[in-house]
């Protein structure tokens, strides 16, 4: 269904729930992958996706169609993902018994190889917002202009952030690949 039509249906109390159902059908998968790339685990992504839609539902009255529906939803999803990362950091403290790569390789919902697990570990080393910038650009190819609305940051700052993230990840991957090959 077209965005304009959905927004009209949202305005009407009697069709609001039906319209929101359309939004859920249309955006759940896209939002899930954006969230999953940031929070990594499936269960975490599932929780964040639920919170995203619940918060979108609660604040529908304030969506006046001034930004695109997708941009508004992405913004909620990214904010919820960042909140989740902060909460997890507080909860976990500094205890890291298993590296993220090893956790992923044992995860039922990860079927990548060691190299892909290492890439996820490298991404997880980034500061939270930089991590979001990297995943939104690298995996979702989001334009900087749209990202600037999602993250409320200038395009220039986002480009710089992505550039730094790519450098850090490349260095991490290179260092850890060298260590692994020298250990063999």
């Amino acid at each position: 269904m077209e965005e304009e039509k959905i927004i009209k249906l949202l305005d009407d109390e009697s069709t609001r729930r039906e319209a929101f159902g359309q939004i859920v059908n249309q955006y759940s998968e896209t939002l899930y992958w954006k969230i999953r790339h940031i929070v990594v685990g499936h269960d975490d992504a599932n929780d964040v996706l639920q919170n995203t839609f619940l918060n979108a539902w609660k604040s529908l009255d304030n969506f006046r169609g001034q930004s695109k529906l997708s941009t508004w939803l992405y913004r909620i999803a990214v904010n919820e993902s960042l909140d989740h990362l902060r909460r997890e950091k507080k909860r976990q403290g500094t205890s890291d018994e298993l590296t993220l790569a090893n956790q992923l390789l044992a995860d039922d919902y990860f079927d990548g190889d060691e190299a892909q697990a290492l890439l996820q570990e490298a991404i997880a080393q980034l500061p939270d917002v930089q991590r979001s910038v990297f995943t939104l650009r690298y995996y979702d190819e989001m334009k900087y202009s749209e990202m600037s609305h999602v993250l409320s940051t200038t395009e220039g700052a986002l480009k710089a952030s992505y550039h730094i993230a790519v450098k850090k990840i490349s260095e991490y991957v290179l260092n850890h690949s060298t260590k692994e090959s020298s250990n063999k």
């Binding site: 109390e13 609001r16 729930r17 929101f20 159902g21 859920v24 059908n25 759940s28 998968e29 899930y32 992958w33 999953r36 790339h37 990594v40 499936h42 599932n46 996706l49 639920q50 839609f53 619940l54 918060n55 979108a56 539902w57 609660k58 604040s59 009255d61 304030n62 969506f63 006046r64 001034q66 930004s67 508004w72 913004r75 909620i76 904010n79 919820e80 909140d83 992923l104 919902y109 990860f110 079927d111 990548g112 190889d113 190299a115 892909q116 697990a117 890439l119 996820q120 690298y138 995996y139 609305h149 409320s152 550039h163 790519v166 450098k167 990840i169 490349s170 991957v173």
Partner: protein, 103 residues
């Protein structure tokens, strides 16, 4: 960017993540069933206003009871300070999304 090309060539764009079979269909059904009713969401939205109004009532009552001009002035200043503190604390995620929706 050279490093970006290296990452894309080496790792591609598939992160290797998978979801349980039928996940999206069951998620969509489940989230629609768990949406709170409109009535409830209005109550939740009015909560910050109710808190602000009750705080204001308590402080206004206290300033009337004390009565002295000097003291009243000082309470008015305190009210202003408390209100601005309150403005900060009553912003939960819902308020932030509501604010962001305007842009």
């Amino acid at each position: 960017m050279e490093e970006e090309l290296m990452l894309k060539e080496r790792f591609g764009k598939d992160a290797g993540f998978r979801v349980p079979e039928g996940y999206f269909d069951s998620f969509n059904k489940q989230i629609m069933e768990s949406l709170p009713s409109k009535k409830q969401s209005i109550l939740v939205r009015l909560r910050p206003i109710a808190v602000a109004a009750s705080m204001f009532g308590v402080i206004a009552g206290a300033s009337l009871w004390i009565g002295h001009d000097e003291e009243a002035k000082s309470i008015a200043q305190q009210t202003k300070a408390i209100q601005s503190e309150e403005d900060y604390y009553i912003f939960d995620n819902d308020d932030i999304y509501a604010y962001l929706a305007d842009y």
